[in-house]
């Protein structure tokens, strides 16, 4: 290979030829500098290919450090959703109950309790068929109440907190930890509650 300005092709027919001059050094240096700058830029702002990192956050840890903590108080929104989806079919959306299906929750003495032990067992195990007295009124539901133990602790805590705050009720919220403690106590039991059994337990 020759260097300098000697042409490589024979200029036989007037078509242009090209010389063999080397690429100027400053151009290579410029390219390397720009490449370095781009690499530094990508390292600082690129988020290293994380799909959840969007500018101006520059790393996954950065995004995580701004995530809100889980809500500490009762999640009434969630409770409302669970209630509307699951409980309102029998207890009615306004908590007034439906004849032959479910007693009212509004103003119920089973709901407005100081302790939550009995109350938590109700959705976890349901009720066996039989008479039940709610706020002085006796009802008889031939089908009892279905158990909803498949709902998560958070959902049960949310829906119980919800019914304890609405329709004139005003009782303390229920936490997921309390639900979990009761679930552990119950163990593998699937037999529904009876009124006498619940009344014998502490509130």
């Amino acid at each position: 290979m020759s260097n300098g300005t000697q042409s490589m092709w024979n200029a036989l027919d007037g078509e242009p030829t090209a010389t063999l001059k080397a690429v100027p050094q400053w151009l290579i240096v410029a390219m390397l500098l720009l490449f370095l700058g781009s690499a530094v830029y990508f390292d600082a702002r690129g988020g290293w290919f994380e799909p959840k990192v969007y500018g101006p956050y520059n790393s996954l840890a950065n995004v995580e450090s701004f995530q809100p903590p889980p809500p500490s108080g009762p999640d009434l929104n969630r409770g409302r959703k669970v209630f509307e989806a699951t409980c309102s079919l029998c207890h009615n959306s306004d908590g007034a109950g439906k004849p032959a299906l479910a007693p009212p929750l509004a103003g119920s003495d089973w709901v407005n309790t100081a302790g939550v032990n009995r109350l938590i067992r109700i959705p976890l195990l349901g009720f066996a068929p039989g008479p039940i007295t709610v706020s002085g009124q006796t009802y008889d539901f031939p089908a009892g109440m279905t158990a909803f133990g498949s709902l998560s602790d958070d959902d049960i805590a949310a829906v119980l907190s919800y019914i304890r705050k609405l329709w004139g009720n005003n009782a303390s919220p229920v936490t997921a930890e309390q639900v979990h403690a009761v679930r552990v106590e119950i163990g593998n039991r699937t037999q529904p509650n009876t009124v006498e059994e619940l009344k014998s337990l502490p509130e």
Binding site: M8, G14, P16, A18, T19, F35, G37, Y41, G47
Partner: protein
């Protein structure tokens, strides 16, 4: 008017005549039409209620019509035409199947027309630089593949010829390793012929036929636009530039390695540009594009260095001819690459995002670099393939109309965009107070558009004049042959 044919074109050039008339003719018509739609679109900003009752000419349809006609009506066919001629000339071989290429050119024009009608009727895709509806995509792709096939056959025909000419008789001629056989322009054209079908098919497939979900659509759309504007246009434009500069000045291209460096950095870095800095995409995508935009400065610098070294010491005055066009194209390419690299810097893109700045540098690349280079190439190529000279005054007038028009079009938009962006950053300034001051810049840019429209009209006139003169000369020749035969027949009888 045009002079009678002076030197009859060589066999290679004559073979290119039919396809190039088709490609450049259609391109010239579309360039003029595009200018018309660009003016219509700009009018909506000067008097908002002008097209209140006409859906077809409203800004939202006239602007995509402009970009469609400019890119697909002019840029692609003109690039193909110049590329085909370069492959034929540099391969020292006649172009393969000229009638098939001419058919492909007509099919391409049909696709552009179908796309235009679709856009005006409201079927635009919504993706910038890829506005055509889905039914136009197939037609355009088929036409491009037909022309590419013929181009590759032409290029393949080159290597056998060269080896046969060089090899001594009786020895194995298959591999010639002593001399490279490709001139830089040929690499650029071959790469461009390969590039476009891939990006076009990907965009057409993933945006129209099997539309991807959510924001991946814009990722694909911006990838396509970046490859089209920052790789494909430079590949075809620089192929013509690397031919015109040494050929017209009579000096050798300086140098082969610089051209190779420009080629490699262009395809490796330019293809990663395209994602704007503000994109609603994970941070790694706009950051990679920003870095690539910075690095895309390198091929621009290489081209400028090569152009300066090649033209230095040459006494050829350009006089508004194709050499001037090519030089202005190189300068515009460098400046637009610089503007794109500037937007890679987040401090600057904060100011220029969403403003007229981006429109400004895109049109600088399109008009200042590509349209200028291709027009110059057309003014160089068409006389040689047809044997018809084009009046130098008209070529010069076209040059100055385009130059002043481009400068008036793009520079006010760039400056106006910066001030608009600075005002957008200040939340205490009402939005309307940011848009209105940009109108002064916009008025100047509309004046530039008028000049460009005039230049496009002149270019169309020149191209049609060449074609008309050629047909006239063919008719005259046929008439002369017929009368000569009659006379000899009469003399014999």
């Amino acid at each position: 008017m045009t002079a009678p044919p002076s030197n009859p074109p060589s066999a290679i050039d004559a073979s290119c005549r039919l396809p190039l008339f088709g490609l450049f003719g259609g391109a010239a018509v579309c360039l003029a039409l595009a200018s018309g739609f660009g003016l219509i679109a700009s009018l909506s900003f000067h008097k908002a209620s002008l097209f209140a009752d006409c859906a077809m000419l409203s800004y939202g349809r006239a602007y995509p019509a402009w970009s469609h006609l400019l890119v697909y009506g002019f840029c692609v066919p003109a690039g193909l035409g110049a590329g085909l001629w370069l492959l034929a000339r540099l391969g020292r071989v006649e172009v393969a199947k000229p009638w098939l290429i001419a058919f492909g050119a007509k099919l391409w024009n049909l696709g552009v027309l179908v796309g235009l009608i679709g856009i005006l009727a409201g079927d635009a895709s919504g993706f910038e630089w890829f506005e055509m509806p889905r039914y136009a995509v197939i037609i355009l792709l088929a036409a491009f593949l037909i022309i590419t096939l013929c181009a590759f056959i032409t290029h393949y025909g080159r290597s056998r010829r060269h080896e046969e000419a060089d090899s001594p008789s009786g020895t194995e001629a298959r591999f010639v390793t002593s001399e490279p056989t490709l001139y830089p322009s040929q690499w650029f054209v071959v790469a461009a012929l390969f590039w476009f079908p891939w990006i076009f098919t990907t965009a057409g497939w993933l945006l129209h036929y099997f539309q991807v979900r959510g924001v991946v659509q814009v990722a694909v759309g911006w990838w396509y636009a970046g490859n089209l504007l920052n790789v494909w246009l430079p590949l075809t434009g620089l192929a013509a530039t690397f031919y015109l500069l040494p050929k017209i000045t009579g000096r050798p291209l300086q140098s082969q390695y610089l051209a190779l460096f420009a080629f490699l950095t262009l395809v490796v870095f330019g293809t990663w540009t395209g994602m704007p800095a503000h994109a609603p995409l994970p941070a790694w995508m706009p950051t990679l594009s920003g870095g690539a935009s910075l690095l895309a400065l390198v091929p621009a610098l290489a081209v400028v260095a090569s152009a300066i070294l090649t033209c230095r010491g040459s006494n050829v005055a350009c006089l508004g001819g194709p050499l001037c066009y090519a030089k202005f194209g190189v300068v515009s390419f460098a400046v637009s690459s610089l503007l794109i690299a500037l937007t890679a810097c987040p401090l600057i893109s904060r100011v220029t995002d969403f403003t007229w700045f981006n429109h400004g540098h895109a049109t600088l690349r399109l008009y200042g670099f590509f349209v200028m280079t291709m027009t110059g190439a057309a003014y160089y190529i068409l006389p040689r393939v047809s044997g018809i000279e084009i009046c130098a005054n008209r070529v010069r007038a076209n040059f100055w109309l385009f130059v002043i028009g481009t400068l008036l079009f793009t520079l006010p938009l760039v400056a106006g965009g910066v001030t608009q962006g600075a005002k957008l950053l200040d939340p205490s300034i009402l939005f309307l107070d940011t848009a209105k001051p940009a109108m002064m810049a916009f008025r100047m840019s509309t004046l530039g558009e008028v000049l460009i429209a005039a230049g496009s009209g002149l270019f169309l006139f020149n191209v049609l004049a060449v074609m008309a003169a050629w047909y006239r000369s063919v008719c005259r020749q046929a008439f002369a042959n017929a009368t000569a035969r009659l006379e000899t027949a009469e003399a014999q009888s």
